[in-house]
Protein backbone atom coordinates (compact mmCIF):
# COMPACT_ATOMS: atom_id res chain seq x y z
CA UNK A 1 0.00 0.00 0.00
CA UNK A 2 1.38 3.38 -1.02
CA UNK A 3 0.13 6.09 1.28
CA UNK A 4 1.41 9.09 3.18
CA UNK A 5 0.05 8.03 6.56
CA UNK A 6 1.31 6.91 9.92
CA UNK A 7 -1.29 4.41 11.04
CA UNK A 8 -4.56 3.39 9.32
CA UNK A 9 -6.51 3.81 12.53
CA UNK A 10 -5.46 7.45 13.05
CA UNK A 11 -5.63 8.72 9.46
CA UNK A 12 -8.84 10.71 9.84
CA UNK A 13 -7.92 12.19 13.23
CA UNK A 14 -4.47 13.26 11.99
CA UNK A 15 -5.84 14.64 8.76
CA UNK A 16 -8.34 16.77 10.69
CA UNK A 17 -5.47 18.34 12.60
CA UNK A 18 -3.88 19.41 9.36
CA UNK A 19 -7.20 20.66 7.98
CA UNK A 20 -7.71 22.80 11.06
CA UNK A 21 -4.24 24.31 10.79
CA UNK A 22 -4.62 24.91 7.07
CA UNK A 23 -8.00 26.63 7.24
CA UNK A 24 -8.26 28.13 10.69
CA UNK A 25 -9.85 31.23 9.20
CA UNK A 26 -12.79 29.25 7.84
CA UNK A 27 -13.39 26.40 10.23
CA UNK A 28 -12.89 24.92 13.65
CA UNK A 29 -12.43 21.22 14.26
CA UNK A 30 -13.95 19.49 17.25
CA UNK A 31 -11.95 16.31 17.67
CA UNK A 32 -14.14 14.08 19.84
CA UNK A 33 -16.60 13.38 18.38
CA UNK A 34 -15.13 14.61 15.10
CA UNK A 35 -17.01 17.59 13.67
CA UNK A 36 -15.84 20.36 11.36
CA UNK A 37 -17.67 23.58 12.20
CA UNK A 38 -17.76 26.97 10.54
CA UNK A 39 -15.40 29.29 12.40
CA UNK A 40 -18.17 31.75 13.24
CA UNK A 41 -20.84 29.22 14.18
CA UNK A 42 -23.54 29.43 15.31
CA UNK A 43 -24.95 32.06 13.00
CA UNK A 44 -27.92 33.64 14.75
CA UNK A 45 -31.23 33.23 12.96
CA UNK A 46 -29.80 31.22 10.09
CA UNK A 47 -30.82 27.66 9.22
CA UNK A 48 -27.76 25.47 9.74
CA UNK A 49 -26.75 23.23 6.85
CA UNK A 50 -25.10 20.07 8.13
CA UNK A 51 -23.67 17.25 6.13
CA UNK A 52 -21.31 14.38 6.64
CA UNK A 53 -20.27 11.00 5.44
CA UNK A 54 -17.28 8.75 5.32
CA UNK A 55 -13.88 10.34 4.95
CA UNK A 56 -11.87 9.84 1.78
CA UNK A 57 -14.05 12.05 -0.45
CA UNK A 58 -12.23 15.30 0.27
CA UNK A 59 -12.74 18.16 -0.28
CA UNK A 60 -16.32 16.97 0.33
CA UNK A 61 -17.49 17.70 3.02
CA UNK A 62 -14.95 19.47 5.24
CA UNK A 63 -13.66 21.61 2.40
CA UNK A 64 -17.20 22.87 1.82
CA UNK A 65 -17.68 24.32 5.30
CA UNK A 66 -17.89 28.09 5.40
CA UNK A 67 -20.08 31.10 4.68
CA UNK A 68 -22.58 30.36 1.92
CA UNK A 69 -22.33 26.62 2.21
CA UNK A 70 -22.05 24.17 5.14
CA UNK A 71 -22.21 25.09 8.80
CA UNK A 72 -20.79 21.74 9.80
CA UNK A 73 -19.51 18.50 8.36
CA UNK A 74 -19.29 15.17 10.19
CA UNK A 75 -16.39 13.06 8.93
CA UNK A 76 -16.75 9.34 9.50
CA UNK A 77 -13.95 6.81 9.34
CA UNK A 78 -12.68 6.24 5.78
CA UNK A 79 -15.71 5.33 3.63
CA UNK A 80 -17.81 4.80 6.77
CA UNK A 81 -20.85 6.86 7.71
CA UNK A 82 -20.40 9.10 10.73
CA UNK A 83 -22.05 8.20 14.02
CA UNK A 84 -25.09 9.89 15.52
CA UNK A 85 -23.11 11.65 18.25
CA UNK A 86 -21.07 13.45 15.61
CA UNK A 87 -24.27 14.67 14.02
CA UNK A 88 -25.91 15.73 17.28
CA UNK A 89 -22.75 17.62 18.22
CA UNK A 90 -22.83 19.35 14.83
CA UNK A 91 -26.45 20.30 15.39
CA UNK A 92 -25.71 21.74 18.84
CA UNK A 93 -22.67 23.73 17.75
CA UNK A 94 -24.39 25.32 14.78
CA UNK A 95 -27.75 25.95 16.35
CA UNK A 96 -28.66 29.53 15.49
CA UNK A 97 -32.26 29.10 16.51
CA UNK A 98 -33.64 28.49 13.04
CA UNK A 99 -33.22 24.73 12.89
CA UNK A 100 -30.95 22.55 10.82
CA UNK A 101 -31.08 20.84 7.46
CA UNK A 102 -29.29 17.51 7.42
CA UNK A 103 -27.87 16.72 3.98
CA UNK A 104 -27.61 12.95 3.74
CA UNK A 105 -26.31 10.88 0.86
CA UNK A 106 -28.48 7.86 0.29
CA UNK A 107 -26.54 4.98 1.77
CA UNK A 108 -28.07 2.71 4.38
CA UNK A 109 -25.39 3.64 6.89
CA UNK A 110 -25.66 7.37 6.37
CA UNK A 111 -29.43 7.31 6.44
CA UNK A 112 -29.58 5.24 9.64
CA UNK A 113 -26.99 7.25 11.54
CA UNK A 114 -28.46 10.62 10.58
CA UNK A 115 -31.95 9.28 11.35
CA UNK A 116 -30.82 8.27 14.83
CA UNK A 117 -29.26 11.70 15.32
CA UNK A 118 -32.40 13.42 14.12
CA UNK A 119 -34.41 11.48 16.71
CA UNK A 120 -32.03 12.58 19.46
CA UNK A 121 -31.75 16.21 18.37
CA UNK A 122 -33.18 18.90 20.56
CA UNK A 123 -33.41 21.39 17.72
CA UNK A 124 -35.83 21.30 14.85
CA UNK A 125 -34.23 19.35 12.04
CA UNK A 126 -35.27 18.39 8.54
CA UNK A 127 -33.46 15.84 6.44
CA UNK A 128 -32.84 15.81 2.73
CA UNK A 129 -31.62 12.57 1.20
CA UNK A 130 -29.76 12.94 -2.07
CA UNK A 131 -29.85 10.00 -4.48
CA UNK A 132 -28.58 11.28 -7.83
CA UNK A 133 -26.66 8.27 -9.11
CA UNK A 134 -28.43 6.94 -12.18
CA UNK A 135 -26.15 3.89 -12.23
CA UNK A 136 -28.24 2.32 -9.52
CA UNK A 137 -31.76 1.23 -10.15
CA UNK A 138 -34.15 2.89 -7.79
CA UNK A 139 -36.49 0.08 -6.96
CA UNK A 140 -37.70 -1.84 -3.99
CA UNK A 141 -35.02 -4.37 -4.83
CA UNK A 142 -32.13 -2.07 -3.99
CA UNK A 143 -31.22 0.36 -1.23
CA UNK A 144 -32.14 2.97 -3.83
CA UNK A 145 -29.87 5.30 -5.71
CA UNK A 146 -26.67 6.48 -4.14
CA UNK A 147 -25.87 10.08 -3.39
CA UNK A 148 -22.78 11.14 -5.33
CA UNK A 149 -21.69 14.26 -7.22
CA UNK A 150 -25.06 16.01 -6.91
CA UNK A 151 -24.23 16.57 -3.26
CA UNK A 152 -21.98 19.53 -4.11
CA UNK A 153 -24.62 21.63 -5.88
CA UNK A 154 -27.13 20.58 -3.21
CA UNK A 155 -24.89 21.85 -0.43
CA UNK A 156 -23.98 25.00 -2.36
CA UNK A 157 -27.56 25.90 -3.17
CA UNK A 158 -29.09 25.10 0.21
CA UNK A 159 -26.17 26.97 1.80
CA UNK A 160 -27.02 30.02 -0.28
CA UNK A 161 -30.72 29.75 0.54
CA UNK A 162 -29.94 29.60 4.26
CA UNK A 163 -27.51 32.51 3.91
CA UNK A 164 -30.14 34.74 2.35
CA UNK A 165 -32.43 34.05 5.26
CA UNK A 166 -34.82 31.36 4.05
CA UNK A 167 -36.50 29.47 6.87
CA UNK A 168 -36.17 25.74 7.37
CA UNK A 169 -39.23 24.89 5.31
CA UNK A 170 -38.08 27.03 2.42
CA UNK A 171 -34.53 25.65 2.52
CA UNK A 172 -35.93 22.14 2.61
CA UNK A 173 -38.18 22.85 -0.36
CA UNK A 174 -35.25 24.14 -2.37
CA UNK A 175 -33.23 21.08 -1.38
CA UNK A 176 -36.01 18.91 -2.73
CA UNK A 177 -35.99 20.87 -5.97
CA UNK A 178 -32.28 20.25 -6.36
CA UNK A 179 -32.61 16.56 -5.63
CA UNK A 180 -35.43 16.28 -8.12
CA UNK A 181 -33.36 17.91 -10.83
CA UNK A 182 -29.87 16.51 -10.41
CA UNK A 183 -28.43 13.31 -11.90
CA UNK A 184 -24.95 11.80 -11.94
CA UNK A 185 -22.96 8.87 -13.21
CA UNK A 186 -19.36 7.84 -12.65
CA UNK A 187 -16.70 5.46 -13.90
CA UNK A 188 -13.30 4.24 -12.77
CA UNK A 189 -10.11 3.18 -14.49
CA UNK A 190 -8.40 2.07 -11.28
CA UNK A 191 -9.54 1.41 -7.72
CA UNK A 192 -8.75 3.28 -4.53
CA UNK A 193 -7.01 1.66 -1.59
CA UNK A 194 -8.63 2.05 1.82
CA UNK A 195 -5.86 2.44 4.44
CA UNK A 196 -7.06 -0.32 6.77
CA UNK A 197 -7.67 -2.69 3.87
CA UNK A 198 -4.25 -2.17 2.37
CA UNK A 199 -5.08 -3.36 -1.12
CA UNK A 200 -7.18 -1.93 -3.94
CA UNK A 201 -10.94 -2.17 -3.46
CA UNK A 202 -11.34 -4.01 -6.74
CA UNK A 203 -9.08 -5.33 -9.43
CA UNK A 204 -9.31 -4.04 -12.96
CA UNK A 205 -7.26 -5.38 -15.82
CA UNK A 206 -5.30 -2.86 -17.84
CA UNK A 207 -7.88 -2.95 -20.62
CA UNK A 208 -10.97 -2.73 -18.43
CA UNK A 209 -12.99 0.01 -16.81
CA UNK A 210 -15.76 -0.03 -14.25
CA UNK A 211 -18.88 1.89 -15.23
CA UNK A 212 -21.51 3.13 -12.81
CA UNK A 213 -19.01 3.13 -10.00
CA UNK A 214 -19.81 4.47 -6.56
CA UNK A 215 -17.51 6.65 -4.51
CA UNK A 216 -16.58 4.06 -1.89
CA UNK A 217 -14.59 1.66 -3.98
CA UNK A 218 -17.71 -0.47 -4.25
CA UNK A 219 -17.76 -2.07 -7.69
CA UNK A 220 -19.91 -0.48 -10.38
CA UNK A 221 -22.76 -1.58 -12.53
CA UNK A 222 -20.66 -3.21 -15.23
CA UNK A 223 -17.10 -3.96 -16.14
CA UNK A 224 -16.44 -3.22 -19.79
CA UNK A 225 -13.46 -2.86 -22.08
CA UNK A 226 -11.70 0.47 -21.57
CA UNK A 227 -12.76 3.13 -24.05
CA UNK A 228 -11.40 6.44 -25.22
CA UNK A 229 -12.58 9.74 -23.79
CA UNK A 230 -15.34 10.22 -26.37
CA UNK A 231 -16.71 6.79 -25.50
CA UNK A 232 -16.45 7.29 -21.77
CA UNK A 233 -18.16 10.67 -21.75
CA UNK A 234 -21.00 9.49 -23.98
CA UNK A 235 -21.48 6.44 -21.78
CA UNK A 236 -21.81 8.61 -18.68
CA UNK A 237 -23.94 11.29 -20.26
CA UNK A 238 -26.56 9.18 -22.05
CA UNK A 239 -28.14 7.58 -18.99
CA UNK A 240 -28.12 10.92 -17.17
CA UNK A 241 -29.92 12.67 -20.01
CA UNK A 242 -32.48 9.93 -20.40
CA UNK A 243 -33.21 9.69 -16.73
CA UNK A 244 -34.64 13.05 -15.78
CA UNK A 245 -35.02 13.47 -18.81
CA UNK A 246 -33.11 16.56 -19.86
CA UNK A 247 -34.51 18.19 -22.97
CA UNK A 248 -33.59 20.69 -25.63
CA UNK A 249 -33.53 24.21 -24.26
CA UNK A 250 -32.90 23.15 -20.67
CA UNK A 251 -30.34 25.22 -18.84
CA UNK A 252 -27.97 23.12 -16.77
CA UNK A 253 -25.04 23.15 -14.43
CA UNK A 254 -22.47 20.68 -15.76
CA UNK A 255 -20.18 19.33 -13.07
CA UNK A 256 -17.24 17.32 -14.36
CA UNK A 257 -15.68 15.63 -11.36
CA UNK A 258 -12.40 13.80 -10.91
CA UNK A 259 -12.55 10.76 -8.65
CA UNK A 260 -9.10 11.65 -7.34
CA UNK A 261 -6.20 10.48 -9.44
CA UNK A 262 -7.48 11.56 -12.83
CA UNK A 263 -5.43 14.65 -13.69
CA UNK A 264 -7.01 18.00 -14.60
CA UNK A 265 -5.46 17.65 -18.07
CA UNK A 266 -7.76 14.69 -18.73
CA UNK A 267 -10.67 16.14 -16.81
CA UNK A 268 -10.81 19.32 -18.91
CA UNK A 269 -10.56 17.17 -22.01
CA UNK A 270 -13.57 15.16 -20.87
CA UNK A 271 -15.40 18.33 -19.87
CA UNK A 272 -14.98 19.71 -23.39
CA UNK A 273 -16.47 16.57 -24.87
CA UNK A 274 -19.45 16.72 -22.52
CA UNK A 275 -20.07 20.37 -23.41
CA UNK A 276 -20.09 19.54 -27.10
CA UNK A 277 -22.42 16.59 -26.68
CA UNK A 278 -24.81 18.80 -24.72
CA UNK A 279 -24.59 21.58 -27.29
CA UNK A 280 -25.45 19.05 -30.00
CA UNK A 281 -28.69 18.35 -28.17
CA UNK A 282 -29.54 21.97 -27.62
CA UNK A 283 -28.99 21.78 -23.88
CA UNK A 284 -27.55 25.02 -22.57
CA UNK A 285 -24.62 24.72 -20.21
CA UNK A 286 -25.21 27.81 -18.12
CA UNK A 287 -22.74 27.04 -15.33
CA UNK A 288 -19.91 24.59 -14.91
CA UNK A 289 -17.72 23.15 -12.19
CA UNK A 290 -14.64 21.13 -13.11
CA UNK A 291 -12.30 19.51 -10.64
CA UNK A 292 -11.81 16.91 -7.93
CA UNK A 293 -14.64 17.71 -5.51
CA UNK A 294 -16.24 14.35 -4.75
CA UNK A 295 -13.32 11.98 -4.71
CA UNK A 296 -12.80 8.41 -3.71
CA UNK A 297 -9.27 8.51 -2.31
CA UNK A 298 -6.87 7.89 -5.20
CA UNK A 299 -9.44 6.29 -7.47
CA UNK A 300 -8.77 7.05 -11.13
CA UNK A 301 -11.91 8.00 -12.98
CA UNK A 302 -14.53 10.67 -13.32
CA UNK A 303 -18.19 11.43 -12.94
CA UNK A 304 -20.59 13.78 -14.63
CA UNK A 305 -23.39 15.56 -12.81
CA UNK A 306 -26.14 17.56 -14.47
CA UNK A 307 -28.44 19.88 -12.58
CA UNK A 308 -31.36 21.45 -14.37
CA UNK A 309 -31.42 25.09 -13.39
CA UNK A 310 -34.25 27.54 -12.99
CA UNK A 311 -33.66 31.22 -12.31
CA UNK A 312 -33.68 30.80 -8.58
CA UNK A 313 -31.35 27.82 -8.49
CA UNK A 314 -29.01 29.68 -10.80
CA UNK A 315 -29.01 32.72 -8.55
CA UNK A 316 -28.34 30.56 -5.51
CA UNK A 317 -25.49 28.79 -7.30
CA UNK A 318 -23.96 32.16 -8.14
CA UNK A 319 -24.34 33.53 -4.62
CA UNK A 320 -21.12 34.14 -2.69
CA UNK A 321 -19.38 31.19 -1.11
CA UNK A 322 -16.21 31.06 0.94
CA UNK A 323 -14.90 27.59 1.74
CA UNK A 324 -11.59 25.80 1.30
CA UNK A 325 -12.68 24.21 -1.96
CA UNK A 326 -15.30 26.54 -3.46
CA UNK A 327 -14.90 30.26 -3.30
CA UNK A 328 -16.39 33.06 -5.26
CA UNK A 329 -18.30 36.27 -4.93
CA UNK A 330 -16.43 37.52 -1.89
Amino acid sequence: MKKIINDPSTVVAESLKGLELAHGDLLTVIHDPAVIVRADAPVRGKVAIISGGGSGHEPMHGGLVGPGMLDAACPGAVFTSPTPDQVTTAIEKTDGGAGALLVVKNYTGDVLNFETAAELAETEVRTIVIDDDVAVKDSTYTAGRRGVGGTVPLEKITGAAAARGDDLDAVHAIAERVVANVRSMGMALAAPTVPHVGEPSFDLADDEMEVGIGIHGEPGRARVPAENADGIVARLLEPILEDLPFAEGDRVLLFTNSMGATPLLELYLAHGIAERLLADRGIVVARRLVGPYVTSLEMQGMSLTLLKLDDELLELWDAPVRTAALRWGN
Binding site: F79, T80, T83, Y107, L112, E115, K137, A143, V197, E218
Partner: protein, 205 residues
Amino acid sequence: MGCTANDLVTALKAAAATIEEHRVELIQLDRVIGDGDHGENMDRGFKAVLTALDANTPDTPAAVLKLVATTLISKVGGAAGPLYGTAFLRASTAVKDRAELEPADLTEALTAALGGIVARGKAEPGDKTMVDALDPAVRAAKGDTATELLAAAAAAAETGADATVPLVARKGRASYLGERSAGHMDPGARSTALLLRAFAEVAAR
Protein backbone atom coordinates in the same frame (compact mmCIF):
# COMPACT_ATOMS: atom_id res chain seq x y z
CA MET B 1 -28.48 -20.29 37.66
CA GLY B 2 -29.33 -17.78 34.88
CA CYS B 3 -27.11 -15.43 32.99
CA THR B 4 -25.89 -12.53 35.16
CA ALA B 5 -24.48 -9.16 34.20
CA ASN B 6 -21.05 -10.64 34.77
CA ASP B 7 -21.76 -13.59 32.50
CA LEU B 8 -22.84 -11.15 29.84
CA VAL B 9 -19.61 -9.22 30.20
CA THR B 10 -17.67 -12.44 29.77
CA ALA B 11 -19.68 -13.24 26.65
CA LEU B 12 -19.05 -9.79 25.21
CA LYS B 13 -15.34 -10.09 25.80
CA ALA B 14 -15.37 -13.36 23.92
CA ALA B 15 -17.35 -11.67 21.16
CA ALA B 16 -14.81 -8.87 20.93
CA ALA B 17 -12.00 -11.42 20.70
CA THR B 18 -13.80 -13.28 17.91
CA ILE B 19 -14.39 -10.11 15.96
CA GLU B 20 -10.74 -9.12 16.28
CA GLU B 21 -9.73 -12.57 15.11
CA HIS B 22 -12.05 -12.39 12.08
CA ARG B 23 -11.44 -8.73 11.31
CA VAL B 24 -9.60 -9.38 8.05
CA GLU B 25 -12.10 -12.00 6.94
CA LEU B 26 -14.97 -9.54 7.42
CA ILE B 27 -13.02 -6.82 5.61
CA GLN B 28 -12.45 -9.15 2.70
CA LEU B 29 -16.09 -10.23 2.52
CA ASP B 30 -17.17 -6.60 2.53
CA ARG B 31 -14.48 -5.61 0.03
CA VAL B 32 -15.99 -7.97 -2.54
CA ILE B 33 -19.62 -6.85 -2.39
CA GLY B 34 -19.40 -3.70 -0.29
CA ASP B 35 -16.83 -1.13 0.70
CA GLY B 36 -14.42 -3.17 2.79
CA ASP B 37 -15.00 -1.60 6.17
CA HIS B 38 -17.21 -4.05 8.03
CA GLY B 39 -14.37 -5.86 9.83
CA GLU B 40 -12.67 -2.60 10.72
CA ASN B 41 -15.87 -1.00 11.97
CA MET B 42 -16.93 -3.98 14.06
CA ASP B 43 -13.46 -4.34 15.52
CA ARG B 44 -13.30 -0.65 16.42
CA GLY B 45 -16.78 -0.93 17.97
CA PHE B 46 -16.10 -4.00 20.07
CA LYS B 47 -12.75 -2.66 21.23
CA ALA B 48 -14.66 0.40 22.42
CA VAL B 49 -17.14 -1.94 24.15
CA LEU B 50 -14.24 -3.53 26.05
CA THR B 51 -12.99 -0.11 27.12
CA ALA B 52 -16.49 0.93 28.18
CA LEU B 53 -16.98 -2.26 30.18
CA ASP B 54 -13.64 -1.73 31.89
CA ALA B 55 -14.51 1.83 32.83
CA ASN B 56 -18.03 1.05 34.02
CA THR B 57 -19.42 -1.99 35.77
CA PRO B 58 -23.11 -2.02 35.01
CA ASP B 59 -24.76 -4.37 37.47
CA THR B 60 -27.79 -5.56 35.57
CA PRO B 61 -27.96 -7.40 32.25
CA ALA B 62 -30.10 -4.55 30.90
CA ALA B 63 -27.46 -1.98 31.81
CA VAL B 64 -24.71 -4.05 30.19
CA LEU B 65 -26.73 -4.39 27.00
CA LYS B 66 -27.52 -0.69 26.96
CA LEU B 67 -23.88 0.26 27.39
CA VAL B 68 -22.99 -2.02 24.49
CA ALA B 69 -25.74 -0.43 22.41
CA THR B 70 -24.68 3.17 22.98
CA THR B 71 -21.03 2.31 22.49
CA LEU B 72 -21.66 0.56 19.19
CA ILE B 73 -23.89 3.40 18.00
CA SER B 74 -21.24 6.00 18.73
CA LYS B 75 -18.22 4.07 17.53
CA VAL B 76 -19.14 1.84 14.60
CA GLY B 77 -20.80 4.08 12.03
CA GLY B 78 -21.83 2.65 8.67
CA ALA B 79 -24.93 0.48 8.40
CA ALA B 80 -23.78 -1.97 11.03
CA GLY B 81 -23.44 0.61 13.81
CA PRO B 82 -27.06 1.68 14.10
CA LEU B 83 -28.33 -1.83 13.27
CA TYR B 84 -26.35 -3.69 15.93
CA GLY B 85 -26.79 -0.72 18.25
CA THR B 86 -30.56 -0.89 17.93
CA ALA B 87 -30.44 -4.65 18.36
CA PHE B 88 -28.66 -4.38 21.71
CA LEU B 89 -30.89 -1.47 22.75
CA ARG B 90 -34.05 -3.46 22.12
CA ALA B 91 -32.54 -6.49 23.86
CA SER B 92 -31.79 -4.29 26.84
CA THR B 93 -35.38 -3.12 27.00
CA ALA B 94 -36.65 -6.67 26.56
CA VAL B 95 -34.82 -8.04 29.59
CA LYS B 96 -36.25 -5.33 31.84
CA ASP B 97 -34.79 -5.32 35.34
CA ARG B 98 -34.02 -9.02 35.62
CA ALA B 99 -30.86 -9.76 37.58
CA GLU B 100 -30.38 -13.11 35.85
CA LEU B 101 -31.57 -14.06 32.42
CA GLU B 102 -33.31 -17.39 32.04
CA PRO B 103 -33.55 -19.16 28.67
CA ALA B 104 -36.94 -17.57 28.01
CA ASP B 105 -35.40 -14.15 28.57
CA LEU B 106 -32.68 -14.95 26.10
CA THR B 107 -35.24 -15.88 23.48
CA GLU B 108 -37.08 -12.67 24.15
CA ALA B 109 -33.88 -10.63 23.93
CA LEU B 110 -32.91 -12.20 20.61
CA THR B 111 -36.42 -11.69 19.26
CA ALA B 112 -36.34 -8.05 20.31
CA ALA B 113 -32.92 -7.62 18.75
CA LEU B 114 -34.16 -8.97 15.45
CA GLY B 115 -37.20 -6.72 15.69
CA GLY B 116 -34.96 -3.72 16.18
CA ILE B 117 -32.83 -4.53 13.16
CA VAL B 118 -35.87 -5.05 10.98
CA ALA B 119 -37.50 -1.87 12.28
CA ARG B 120 -34.44 0.19 11.39
CA GLY B 121 -33.25 -1.55 8.24
CA LYS B 122 -36.52 -2.82 6.75
CA ALA B 123 -34.81 -5.93 5.40
CA GLU B 124 -36.72 -9.12 4.85
CA PRO B 125 -35.31 -12.62 4.98
CA GLY B 126 -33.66 -13.32 1.64
CA ASP B 127 -32.41 -9.75 1.15
CA LYS B 128 -28.86 -10.91 1.89
CA THR B 129 -28.28 -9.10 5.16
CA MET B 130 -27.60 -9.89 8.81
CA VAL B 131 -31.32 -10.66 9.07
CA ASP B 132 -30.60 -13.86 7.15
CA ALA B 133 -28.45 -15.01 10.05
CA LEU B 134 -30.44 -13.61 12.94
CA ASP B 135 -33.92 -14.59 11.78
CA PRO B 136 -33.21 -18.35 11.62
CA ALA B 137 -31.24 -18.00 14.85
CA VAL B 138 -34.23 -16.56 16.65
CA ARG B 139 -36.46 -19.32 15.33
CA ALA B 140 -33.95 -21.97 16.42
CA ALA B 141 -33.34 -20.38 19.82
CA LYS B 142 -35.03 -23.05 21.89
CA GLY B 143 -33.78 -25.17 24.73
CA ASP B 144 -33.95 -25.79 28.44
CA THR B 145 -30.61 -24.21 29.11
CA ALA B 146 -28.79 -21.15 27.82
CA THR B 147 -26.11 -23.51 26.52
CA GLU B 148 -28.54 -25.52 24.45
CA LEU B 149 -30.47 -22.49 23.27
CA LEU B 150 -27.45 -20.49 22.18
CA ALA B 151 -25.81 -23.49 20.52
CA ALA B 152 -28.92 -23.96 18.41
CA ALA B 153 -29.10 -20.26 17.61
CA ALA B 154 -25.44 -20.09 16.61
CA ALA B 155 -25.72 -23.13 14.39
CA ALA B 156 -28.78 -21.71 12.68
CA ALA B 157 -27.04 -18.37 12.19
CA GLU B 158 -24.07 -20.07 10.58
CA THR B 159 -26.32 -22.00 8.24
CA GLY B 160 -28.18 -18.78 7.50
CA ALA B 161 -24.97 -16.90 6.78
CA ASP B 162 -23.79 -19.65 4.45
CA ALA B 163 -27.13 -19.52 2.71
CA THR B 164 -26.60 -15.85 1.82
CA VAL B 165 -23.90 -16.83 -0.67
CA PRO B 166 -26.15 -17.47 -3.68
CA LEU B 167 -28.53 -14.61 -2.88
CA VAL B 168 -28.82 -11.37 -4.82
CA ALA B 169 -28.64 -8.46 -2.36
CA ARG B 170 -31.66 -6.20 -2.06
CA LYS B 171 -30.61 -4.07 0.89
CA GLY B 172 -27.43 -2.24 1.83
CA ARG B 173 -24.46 -1.46 -0.27
CA ALA B 174 -24.28 -4.89 -1.93
CA SER B 175 -27.63 -4.20 -3.60
CA TYR B 176 -25.90 -1.77 -5.97
CA LEU B 177 -24.19 -4.75 -7.53
CA GLY B 178 -27.43 -6.43 -8.56
CA GLU B 179 -26.76 -9.92 -9.92
CA ARG B 180 -23.05 -9.51 -9.32
CA SER B 181 -23.64 -9.71 -5.57
CA ALA B 182 -24.53 -13.41 -5.90
CA GLY B 183 -21.77 -15.88 -5.10
CA HIS B 184 -20.44 -14.10 -2.00
CA MET B 185 -21.36 -14.32 1.65
CA ASP B 186 -22.91 -11.26 3.27
CA PRO B 187 -20.43 -9.78 5.77
CA GLY B 188 -23.12 -8.70 8.25
CA ALA B 189 -24.66 -12.17 8.27
CA ARG B 190 -21.21 -13.55 8.93
CA SER B 191 -20.57 -11.17 11.84
CA THR B 192 -23.95 -12.08 13.36
CA ALA B 193 -23.04 -15.74 13.20
CA LEU B 194 -19.64 -15.02 14.76
CA LEU B 195 -21.21 -13.11 17.65
CA LEU B 196 -23.74 -15.84 18.39
CA ARG B 197 -21.05 -18.52 18.21
CA ALA B 198 -18.95 -16.57 20.73
CA PHE B 199 -21.96 -16.29 23.09
CA ALA B 200 -22.72 -19.98 22.69
CA GLU B 201 -19.16 -20.96 23.50
CA VAL B 202 -19.13 -18.90 26.68
CA ALA B 203 -22.43 -20.44 27.70
CA ALA B 204 -20.99 -23.92 27.13
CA ARG B 205 -18.06 -23.36 29.50
